[in-house]
Amino acid sequence: MSTILETRKLSKYFGGLAAVNQVDLDIADLEILGLIGPNGAGKTTLFNLISGFFPSTSGKVTFCGRDITNLKAHNTAQLGISRTFQASTLFMKLSVIDNVFTGCHLGYRTSMWKRLLRMPSALEEENMLKHKAIELLDFMGLASLRGEIAGNLTHGQQRVLGVCVALATNPKLLLLDEPVTGMNPSETLTMVSLIRQIRDDMGVTIMLVEHDMKVVMNLCERIVVLSYGHKIAEGLPAEIKENKEVIEAYLGKEEAE
């Protein structure tokens, strides 16, 4: 399998604090990679570095063979990296379909001026993207809520919509920040099967941060563990479960007796 994204010695310092420290990470094409670690381990910071929300202090990020270190978020989105946020970040005042439609922003091939002047080609494209947005909602099981205002959805539905909006950019790599946090068991199951479907049917590589270990162990094919900004372990779920360092990071070191 080929690598879609790799980071080499990626670091981010906030003042004297190393939020992410010399992290080497490889994500293979079409895998579901879990990123875990105790609170404050630097998981979300790593997401922000990859997706371009923060500039890195040092190190290198390569995506599909292209150096994307320190590109801005909108550039990485153009290249095919999409992300969701930890808190439900949506356009709360807009309808569900408008949310997804906004996500299709990158799908435009016609120039802004053509769209301003309502050229036929622009209108045609608009229609096409609308269809795409509806298809996407159908795929995610939100088609019936199309006209609802996003702020009125339940927490679980909002999380699904968040993923849906991120998918509207046609990503190759999807970064999910705590996709099932705060969900009830049945919503969690739906989300887990959706994430699998996104990978299988749409061919999107997925990297996710999650605290729900059951979900991570069940869903992820490979797991990377961060602690205090360092990568402390990497491997299959079964290996990670047995890893002594990981257990220490989560539960603390056992005092020598």
Binding site: L90, F91, L116, E126, V165
Partner: protein
Amino acid sequence: MEKPKRTYRFKRIDTHNRTSIGIIVLVIILLLVPAVMHSPYYIHLLIMVGINAALAMTFIFLLRVGLINLSIASFWGIGAYASAMLTMRLNLSFWLALPAATIISGVVALIVGLLLCRNSGFGFIIPTLAFASVVVLILGTFDVFGGYVGIVNIPHPEPIAIPFLPVIEFTSKTPYYYLMLFLVAVVITAFYAFYSASTGRAWRAIGLSSSLAESLGVNLFKYRLTAFIISSSACGLMGSFYAHYYSALVPLTFAPFPKTIYCHIFAILGGIGFPFAGPAIGAFILTIAPELLRATGAIEPILTGLLVILLVLFAPTGILGLATSGWSSMHPSESIDRIGKWIKASLPTSRTDRENRK
């Protein structure tokens, strides 16, 4: 047995048609105003309403991309002075100076925007305020611009011959009124094109959640800069018109306080959710009201200020916001109740209150 709820049914015209009919009626009324109203004073007020409304629209235009602009009056002034300079020093015709002044304002906005549009929030607001102060200083200090005394005798627009119409001469207020209507229509058309369809969606996205918009591939800087240039050009356009209409310019007219702040208030009063009707209604009320309140003399600004405070407390969505949603949801007694609570909360607690709490 429960009585079935009585429902009233009207033959409904669908919203889209209703809006178009409303706009057509409004345009006809606006076009007929000078035929009915002969007082030049009221026509003058309406012209000022038009200018103010257009300036307030530029505020909402930038607000949509999450930027609050304190240099609206400055770009208005840049347009006005540019137009005055071009006609007086270079003897250009007004009809050339008008687009030229618009472009000059746009170019200045491009240069300023390249520096400022990377920021948002206070990082944008405060520098625009600084820029606004610099503009007033430059206009006031250099003799080319006439200093703080200003420029007088700016030429009126040359007579213009439009096919199928008699030659229009700018000798009375009426032709200015029609020119104002035309220019405001130009601004509205331009803004509407940007608001609607796909570009509008990206801009609205920035205003609603800039980080999400960014993650979806919206280039914040590019969109913010474009919005800044377009809105400032519109200010410049209205400025050029103002210069030749008023025929005299003083730098302090273009100071951020109070002009820019008033532009914000016009928009907020009318309702910032309504990019065109809101500013128009707000500007109409607050341009006419001070004239009516003129009898109150020096306390006029206090009354206007009070109006704004009441507005923010009880109708944060503006007059139109209240008219479209608020009436039904808020009973009058409820709003009186709110005023009472607010006054109570702002008063120092009385002794009995304090004792009771012990």
